[in-house]
C-alpha cells in the first residue's frame, strides 16, 4: 500500500510539472533549433533527465486463460527504456510484442510484475486515472492510423489537446504547427478519407505528439504503408527523436524500421531474447 501511495503521488507530481511547463512548451518546440520540451525543462535534475528511464518493467508476466488453458504471453520481462531512445520491439507472431506494448501503454495490466512509466506504476492506477495518464503521458500511433473519420486533420490533432482542457486558440495554433512539422500544412482541413495512408499516419504522429507525451508508442506503424511513405515517416520520426529527444517505442515486423532503430529488443516466447543497442 505504501508503494502504491508513493506511485500515485509520483503521478500527481508528474502531472503538475507537466502543467507548469505547459506555457513554456509549445508545438513550436518541434521547430528546428527551439528545444523547449517540458521533459528537458523540469526542475533541478534537468540535466540528468536525458539519462532518466521513461519506461521500466520489472518481472512483467501476462497469462491469458484461453479456454481454461493458460497462455503465457509474457514471462518476466525486465526492460528499461531511457528518454530519447528509438526502440524497436521485434519478434515472431505470438512472442508477446503487442502484449508488452499494451501493458506499457496502460491499455492492459500484467498478471505479475510492474510497469513504471514516468515514475508511475501503472498497475496502481484506477481505470479513470489510467485514461487520464494516457492522455497526458503517452502518444499512440496505430497500424491502421485510427484517426477520427468525421474530423479534419487539424481537428484530429487538436482533439487530444481539447480533452486536456487547453483553450481553442492554443489547440488550433499548436495543431497547425504540428501539422507543419509533419509536412501537412496544406492538408489541415482534409478529412482522413481525403488523405493517403502515409499522410494519415503523419497526422496520427502529430496527434500522438499533441499531448506532449513522455514517449510515443507505435504499433506496427508502417505495416500499411508503401516504401516511400515508410521512409518518409521514419525520417520524420528519427528527426523528432534526434531534435526533440522524443522517445519512440515500436512493435514491428518491418525490416525497414528495424534497420533504422537505435535499439532492437527481440522477444521470443514472452521473454527478451536479445537487446541490441546500436
Amino acid at each position: 500500500m505504501r508503494y502504491a501511495h508513493r506511485a500515485e503521488s509520483n503521478y500527481e507530481y508528474s502531472n503538475s510539472t507537466k502543467e507548469s511547463s505547459d506555457e513554456c512548451y509549445a508545438a513550436e518546440s518541434m521547430i528546428p533549433g527551439v528545444n523547449t520540451h517540458p521533459m528537458t525543462q523540469i526542475e533541478p535534475e534537468t540535466s540528468n533527465l536525458k539519462k532518466m528511464s521513461i519506461i521500466t518493467t520489472t518481472g512483467l508476466t501476462k497469462v491469458y486463460n484461453a479456454d481454461q488453458v493458460p497462455v503465457h504471453a509474457l514471462r518476466g520481462v525486465d526492460l528499461t527504456i531511457d528518454k530519447g531512445e528509438f526502440t524497436s520491439i521485434v519478434g515472431p507472431s505470438g512472442s508477446g510484442k503487442t502484449t508488452l506494448l499494451n501493458i506499457i501503454g496502460g491499455l492492459d495490466e500484467p498478471t505479475e510484475g510492474k510497469a513504471l512509466i514516468d515514475n508511475t506504476d501503472l498497475t496502481t492506477l484506477s481505470d479513470r486515472k489510467l485514461i487520464n495518464f494516457r492522455l497526458h503521458h503517452i502518444g499512440f500511433v496505430f497500424q491502421a492510423y485510427n484517426l477520427i473519420p468525421v474530423l479534419t486533420a487539424l481537428e484530429n490533432v487538436s482533439f487530444i489537446m481539447q480533452m486536456q482542457g487547453r483553450s481553442s486558440r492554443e489547440c488550433r495554433e499548436k495543431s497547425i504547427d504540428l501539422l507543419k512539422e509533419v509536412g501537412l500544412e496544406d492538408k489541415i482541413n482534409k478529412r482522413p478519407s481525403e488523405l493517403s495512408g502515409g499522410q494519415q499516419q503523419r497526422v496520427a504522429v502529430a496527434r500522438a505528439l499533441a499531448s506532449k507525451p513522455a514517449f510515443v508508442l507505435a504499433d506496427e506503424p508502417t505495416a500499411n504503408l508503401d516504401s516511400v511513405s515508410t521512409a518518409e515517416l521514419l525520417d520524420m520520426m528519427l528527426e523528432l527523436n534526434e531534435r526533440e529527444e522524443m522517445t519512440f517505442v515500436f512493435s514491428t515486423h518491418d525490416q525497414r524500421v528495424i534497420d533504422r532503430a537505435r535499439r532492437v529488443v527481440t522477444l521470443v516466447d514472452g521473454k527478451i531474447d536479445t537487446d541490441e543497442k546500436r
Binding site: 499494451n102 501503454g105 491499455l107 492492459d108 481505470d127 479513470r128 485514461i131 487520464n132 494516457r134 492522455l135 497526458h136 503517452i138 499512440f140 496505430f142 485510427n146 477520427i148 473519420p149 468525421v150 474530423l151 482533439f159 487530444i160 481539447q162 480533452m163 496527434r207 499531448s211
Partner: protein
C-alpha cells in the same frame, strides 16, 4: 461543444443508419399519436353523445333525487338558484328539466314512456331537439298540448303526426296524472333507448300533467370548458350544500366512465406493445451503431478520451435523433388527425348498427387535443433514451484492447 460537434458529424456520417433510426421514431410517434387521437376522439364522442347533448356535464337535483328518482324528490328553482349557478365563470347555460315515467297509448297500442318536460328555448343549448326532429316540427309558442316522441316509439304505438296520444301516470305526491296530447313531431337521438321511450313536451305542460307546478327534477349545466367540471362541482356544492345534490356526469354515469377506462386500458396495452416493438427496434439500431464503431471507441479510449466523454458524445447523437424523430412524428401525425377531425369517418351498415346499439353516433371523429400528441412524443422520446441506455453503458465500458481487436 467539442462533443456536440463530434456527435453532429457522426449523425451524418452514416446517413442511412441515421434515417432508419429517425424513421423508426417518427413511425412510433405517428402510430401512437394517431391511435390515441382516434381513441380519445371516440371517447369524446361517447361523452358528447350522452353527456354533452343529453344529461349535461353537471346536474343539480333536490337532495336524495339520484337515489330515489321520484317526483317527490324534486326541487323548485328560484331566481336565486339560477343566479348562484350562473355566477360560476365556466357555466354557459342552465337547462331545467322535469322527467318522469308514464304509460303512453295510441289508438291501438300502449307503451311505457319517459316523459321529459323541457324549456323549449333553453333546451336548444343542450340536446338541441330542433335539429334532431325527424318529422313534423319543434315546439312553438302555442304548443302547450303537443308532444314530440321518439321515432321508434311512434312505430310501436302505431301513431301518425297529428294523432292523439294518451299519457297515464302518477304525479307529484301520488296525484293521478292523465293527459291527451297531439303528436307534433318525431325525434331521434343517438341513444336507441330514448328513441324507444321518449315523449318530450314543454316544461309547463309536463308540470301541469304531473301536478308538479314549478317543480323540476334537474337543472342541467352546460360548461364552456369541460375541463372545469370538477372545480365547478366543488364550487356549487359549497353553495348548495344542504338543499341540493350537485353531481358531475362521472358520478351520474359511472358505467360510461368505466367503459371508457376499460377501452382506454385495452388501447394502452396495444400502444404498450407498439412501444416495446419500437424500443427493441431502437435498441437494435443503436447497438448496431455502437458495434460498427467499437474499434473507433477503443482507439479513442486508448488515446485518453474519458469514458464519460464517449457516453456524452453518443448520448448527444441519440438525443438529437430522438428530438428530430419525435418532432417529425408530431408534424406528420397532426395533418392526419386534423383531417379526420374535420371530416369524421361516417360508418354505415353493420358497424353503424353496433355504434347505435351502444347509444353512440356512428361517427368517428379524431381528437385534436394537444396532450394526445405531445404525450406520445414525450413517451417515445423517453423510450428511445431508455432503450439506448444499455448500448451506451456497453460503449462506455469497452476494454480498449478488446475493442481494437474487434
Amino acid at each position: 461543444m467539442l462533443y456536440f460537434n463530434l456527435a453532429w458529424r457522426n449523425i451524418w456520417r452514416n446517413k442511412r443508419r441515421t434515417i432508419i433510426t429517425i424513421l423508426s421514431i417518427v413511425v412510433a410517434v405517428f402510430l401512437a399519436s394517431v391511435m390515441r387521437s382516434m381513441q380519445e376522439g371516440q371517447y369524446t364522442d361517447m361523452i358528447e353523445n350522452t353527456v354533452g347533448t343529453f344529461s349535461g356535464y353537471i346536474q343539480i337535483h333536490a337532495d336524495d333525487y339520484w337515489d330515489d328518482k321520484t317526483l317527490d324528490n324534486t326541487l323548485v328553482a328560484t331566481d336565486s338558484v339560477y343566479s348562484k349557478i350562473q355566477a360560476e365563470e365556466s357555466v354557459r347555460a342552465v337547462v331545467p328539466r322535469l322527467e318522469s315515467f308514464a304509460l303512453a297509448a295510441g289508438q291501438n297500442q300502449s307503451r311505457p314512456a319517459m316523459v321529459m318536460g323541457v324549456d323549449i328555448e333553453a333546451e336548444r343549448n343542450l340536446s338541441d331537439p330542433e335539429k334532431r326532429i325527424q318529422s313534423g316540427s319543434y315546439f312553438g309558442k302555442n304548443d302547450e298540448r303537443s308532444v314530440i316522441i321518439g321515432t321508434e316509439l311512434m312505430q310501436r304505438l302505431d301513431v301518425q303526426l297529428g294523432d292523439s296520444l294518451v299519457l297515464i301516470g302518477q304525479g307529484f305526491r301520488g296525484m293521478s296524472a292523465t293527459g291527451l296530447y297531439e303528436v307534433k313531431g318525431t325525434i331521434a337521438f343517438p341513444n336507441p333507448q330514448l328513441n324507444r321511450n321518449l315523449v318530450m313536451m314543454p316544461i309547463e305542460t309536463a308540470q301541469y300533467f304531473l301536478a308538479a307546478e314549478d317543480r323540476l327534477t334537474a337543472l342541467s349545466i352546460i360548461l364552456d370548458d369541460t375541463e372545469q367540471v370538477d372545480r365547478t362541482v366543488s364550487n356549487l356544492q359549497s353553495k348548495f350544500s344542504d338543499d341540493y345534490e350537485v353531481m358531475s356526469w362521472e358520478t351520474m354515469m359511472p358505467e360510461l366512465t368505466q367503459t371508457i377506462e376499460a377501452d382506454r386500458g385495452s388501447g394502452l396495452i396495444m400502444i404498450f406493445i407498439l412501444y416495446i416493438v419500437v424500443g427493441f427496434g431502437i435498441l437494435g439500431t443503436v447497438l448496431m451503431m455502437i458495434t460498427e464503431r467499437t474499434y473507433e471507441f477503443g482507439v479513442m479510449i486508448s488515446v485518453g478520451t474519458p469514458r464519460l466523454a464517449i457516453t456524452l458524445m453518443l448520448g448527444i447523437e441519440i438525443l438529437l435523433m430522438a428530438l428530430v424523430g419525435t418532432a417529425a412524428g408530431i408534424v406528420v401525425s397532426i395533418p392526419i388527425a386534423w383531417y379526420f377531425n374535420v371530416n369524421p369517418i361516417q360508418f354505415s351498415g353493420d358497424i353503424a348498427a353496433v355504434y347505435q346499439s351502444y347509444g353512440l353516433e356512428a361517427v368517428l371523429q379524431f381528437s385534436m387535443e394537444p396532450v394526445v400528441f405531445y404525450s406520445q412524443a414525450i413517451t417515445v422520446f423517453i423510450i428511445t433514451l431508455v432503450f439506448s441506455l444499455l448500448p451506451l453503458i456497453k460503449a462506455s465500458r469497452l476494454n480498449p484492447v478488446e475493442a481494437m481487436r474487434s
